[in-house]
């Protein structure tokens, strides 16, 4: 038989005015298993709590029910009090007779309030009888972080974590970190040069003794859960020994073969042994294997001959590295929709129709034209240049329905860059709306129009074609309501920001969610913008959706602070409200596995003593389970249960209804 104590609070007059608490206390005392009951004016006050503690000790209570305010108010208070009196905190239950009773039933005869309080308390007493003592789950935390993606967001996250004194592994797919920002010329809204603000950060990351950068690498596999991940990283062969290469560049100088530069987006060539750009970090070249004559045909080998330290190694193979980490920051960034998607704008065939990013390269002083705006077809200075916004964005029919958010801003920037370099040139912008919702952003786009003479035309362009060396742009100016034609020299498409190819497969490896555009899902778009549904995995930058540098950096820092908070103690305490499978009776139907929103349930092999697999069952990973209980309801064999909300507890409450 239980020994339960019932404490009915008056809450000053808040409860007492419509509930006869004395009556409730004495009625409950009659219930089997209840050995003590009382009322008090303010149960949550220090003397109130002391009363509870005393009763637990004196009456040797094995469970208490506090009929008072909402558990969202004081459940913690009373559970703490119970614990200090030696009672398991999960043997303390709260009945809400204030917010959901005395305050909403205004009957001053107290009949209604008393009856309802009795009912509610009775239900919880019966529930309490089925409560099991529970212990907080302690998970050890491995205080090393993995950052995937070395763009500005990933670099920022890595630096902040490292500055917090924790080790970081930064994995970057390309030969250098830097991401898309490394390509930009000057950046809105302040117009500082991208390289000037990015390069120091890249170098800082390289030199930081807590950061290990793995370039030309990708995450192959991630196992485990918060605090305890095991990651397998594939390090692609660079054919250059990183430990001996001095970055002298002799090999690149002498390599006789060239290929299209990915970094320059086809506007320029690079050598077959290359770093993507001169400020690359690390400053170690890689050999583009499919284009290397030595690696494909066994001839050449010039780079090896000229390399002083003998760092070229044609025999190098891909390597797999395993690391233990406690948290992961995903910062894999974005890509741009290719120009080839847009038939009406020349399918990428008209040379003088370029993308916004290509224009960045043309405007960049380290770009293929040294910062001069020349048109690609014949190298002439464009006297009239047309910028098209929302290309592929906000286009349900042929592109994506979302707004890419940064193109309004960078287009305004482009018109300024153009005007600064071609003083008597005319820039036109076709736009649908100008979205400049950031600090000093509206002023920026206005400046482009008022001071830098950009002509903004509200409308879309229907088609672009070449005629007599001109790029003819035919569209509408909806403000004047007519079709307009501009015989331009060059056209820049502000193409949609899209997720990286393969973003979905990375998400699957990590067990995080993504939307239909393959952008990663935040746990909550407003209140948990850097968390994912998988505890311990955080998001930063444009892999979540289109965003600019200030936002990417904020998210990088936000993720870092989450990681550092997680790393602040050796163990992580978690509420013990988790599911568990009765493995003997599980029939491996995997209904729960499918249902769990957190992929917390694994398929587990059952082995005999020889190690042969003789069956399967489900197994809940306590580190991952969030305690929603979806699996419990999903299991038709009724063999999963949720601690704290077991079927038994719920049925007991229903039965006492």
């Amino acid at each position: 038989m239980s020994r339960i104590g019932v404490f009915v609070c008056q809450c000053g007059n808040n409860i007492e005015s419509t509930v006869d608490t004395g009556q409730v206390a004495s009625d409950m005392k009659e219930m089997p298993g209840v050995v003590f009951s009382c009322t008090y004016k303010f149960m949550c006050s220090s003397p109130g709590q002391e009363m509870v503690r005393q009763a637990i000790k004196d009456k040797r209570l094995d469970g208490i029910v506090v009929s008072a305010c909402s558990p969202h108010m004081h459940e913690k208070t009373f559970r703490k009090a119970s614990e200090s009196a030696g009672l398991n905190p999960y043997k303390c239950e709260i009945v809400n007779i204030r917010e959901q009773c005395s305050w909403v039933h205004h009957d001053t005869t107290k009949k209604i309030g008393t009856r309802k309080s009795n009912d509610l308390t009775r239900m919880i007493i019966e529930r309490l009888k089925k409560n099991k003592p529970l212990k907080k789950i302690n998970i050890p935390v491995n205080k090393k972080a993995l950052v995937i993606g070395g763009g500005i967001a990933g670099i920022q996250a890595a630096l902040d974590i490292a500055d917090g004194g924790r080790e970081v592994i930064l994995v970057e797919r390309e030969p250098s970190i830097g991401g898309n920002m490394a390509r930009l010329s000057e950046t809105f809204p302040t117009m500082d040069c991208s390289q000037c603000i990015l390069t120091p950060k890249m170098v800082e990351a390289e030199l930081h003794d807590k950061i290990k950068i793995l370039t030309y690498s990708e995450v192959e596999k991630l196992d485990g859960y918060i605090g305890n991940f095991t990651v397998t990283i594939k390090k692609k062969a660079k054919y250059v020994d990183e430990s001996t290469c001095t970055g002298c560049g002799e090999c690149m100088e002498k390599c006789p073969f060239k290929a299209d530069s990915e970094f320059e987006l086809g506007l320029n060539k690079r050598k077959v042994i290359y770093t993507p750009f001169p400020q690359a970090v690390p400053n170690i070249p890689v050999i583009d294997a499919p284009n290397c004559v030595m690696l494909t045909k066994g001839k050449c080998g010039i780079c090896a001959k000229v390399c002083g330290p003998g760092s070229i190694d044609f025999e190098q193979k891909d390597e797999f590295i395993e690391e233990q980490v406690g948290a992961v920051v995903v910062a894999t960034g974005y890509d741009l929709m290719p120009n080839e998607r847009f038939g009406e704008y020349g399918y990428g065939k008209i040379k003088d129709v370029v993308s916004g990013m290509q224009f960045e390269r043309l405007a960049s002083s380290s770009g293929p034209t040294g910062g001069q705006i020349f048109r690609p077809s014949d190298g002439k200075v464009p006297e009239q240049i047309v910028f098209l916004q929302c290309i592929g964005s906000r286009d349900e029919a042929k592109g994506v329905s979302y707004c890419s958010k940064i193109c309004c801003m960078y287009t305004a920037k482009h018109t300024m860059l153009y005007k600064h370099k071609v003083h008597d040139g005319q820039a036109y912008v076709f736009y649908m709306d100008i979205r400049a919702g950031g600090k000093r952003y509206e002023e920026f786009t206005r400046r482009a129009q008022e001071q830098e003479d950009a002509m903004y035309l509200r409308g879309r362009v229907a088609r672009i074609y070449e005629r007599d060396g001109k790029v003819v742009v035919q569209g509408a100016d909806t403000l004047s309501g007519t079709q307009v034609v501009i015989e331009a020299d060059m056209v820049v498409l502000a193409t949609a920001l899209v997720s990286r190819p393969g973003a979905d497969s990375l998400a699957q490896k990590l067990g995080i969610g993504y939307d239909k555009y393959k952008f990663y899902n935040e746990y909550h778009p407003k209140l948990k913008p850097v968390e994912t549904v998988t505890a311990g995995i955080f998001l930063s930058g444009a892999c979540v959706g289109p965003m600019d540098i200030p936002e990417s950096v904020s998210m990088g820092s936000a993720s870092a602070s989450k990681v550092l908070a997680l790393f602040s103690s050796d163990e992580m305490a978690r509420e013990p409200i988790v599911a568990a499978v009765n493995k003997q009776r599980c029939n491996a139907c995997w209904d729960c596995v499918v249902a769990c929103p957190y992929t917390a349930i694994e398929k587990e092999e059952v082995k005999d003593r020889q190690g042969n697999v003789i069956g399967w069952n489900a197994n809940v990973n306590e580190g991952v389970c969030q305690g929603c209980g979806v699996c419990v309801a999903a299991c038709r064999s009724k063999v999963v249960d949720l601690a704290g909300y077991t079927d038994e507890q719920v049925f007991a409450a229903i039965n006492a209804f």
Binding site: F342, G343, Y465, D468
Partner: protein
Amino acid sequence: MKIPYYPGCTLNTTAKGFDLSARESAQTLGFEMEELEQWNCCGACFPLSPGNVMALAAPAKVLTNARKEGESVTTLCSVCYNVLKRTNVALNEDKARLAAVNDFIEEDYDGSLKVVHMLEVLRDTIGFDKVKEAVMRPLGKLKVGAYYGCMLLRPFKDVGIDRHEGPTIIEDLLTAMGCEAIDFPDKIECCGAHLTMGREDVVEKLSGNVIASAVNRGAEVIVTSCPLCQYNLEKSQESIMETNAGHKEVPIIYFTQLLGLSLGQTDEMAGLDGNKFDIRPLLKERGV
């Protein structure tokens, strides 16, 4: 091999050359275009508002009769192709509409006919490679602009025989025939179509744009797949020539006529007499 063929009204009257050259070319390429036993006018324009169910009756009748004779029907005229194919799609998409139309024409067509264009037959059934092999008179030095107009391409979802912004199917055929295919930006723009009734000024402008665009890229011949395009382009060229003495005339002929010539047909077989602007002087000049 026999292919059920729907000529449509215009190919029986003003566009005889289109019909003739196509049938002859088919013979050479090893198949026969067998005219449907029973057919009526398709209506010549697809009703753009779905509320207009009655206008589907005529094309539905064509589809019904064609279905009785086979599983597919081939057309030459772009307009017929557009109307029949879209009608078929519309009837398949909306069974209520199908039932209403069936009630009206007192038939019970089930939507299972396949509507194809001659260009698709040449590309998909015969193969342009085979066409290439059959060429006896390579038109190597001829610069030909392929004019698609609207009806072969739009709406893409329902009729598009090729990418609707940058189609190449006719160019691919021209290349197989040994011509130099000229890409020009206005190849998918409208000729003015039925506005020829009452608004010739508009037709002259639109068709004029098409011709100018093709000429600007160096085209000496324009091929079409639509009698109305052909008519509008020819007529507009006449007025261009009245006002612009420097304009060098461009023969505007059906792609099947050029195909016929490359396959070695005589001028009569290719129906060259029906065209306002004769291609023969140009052929002579180029020595082909």
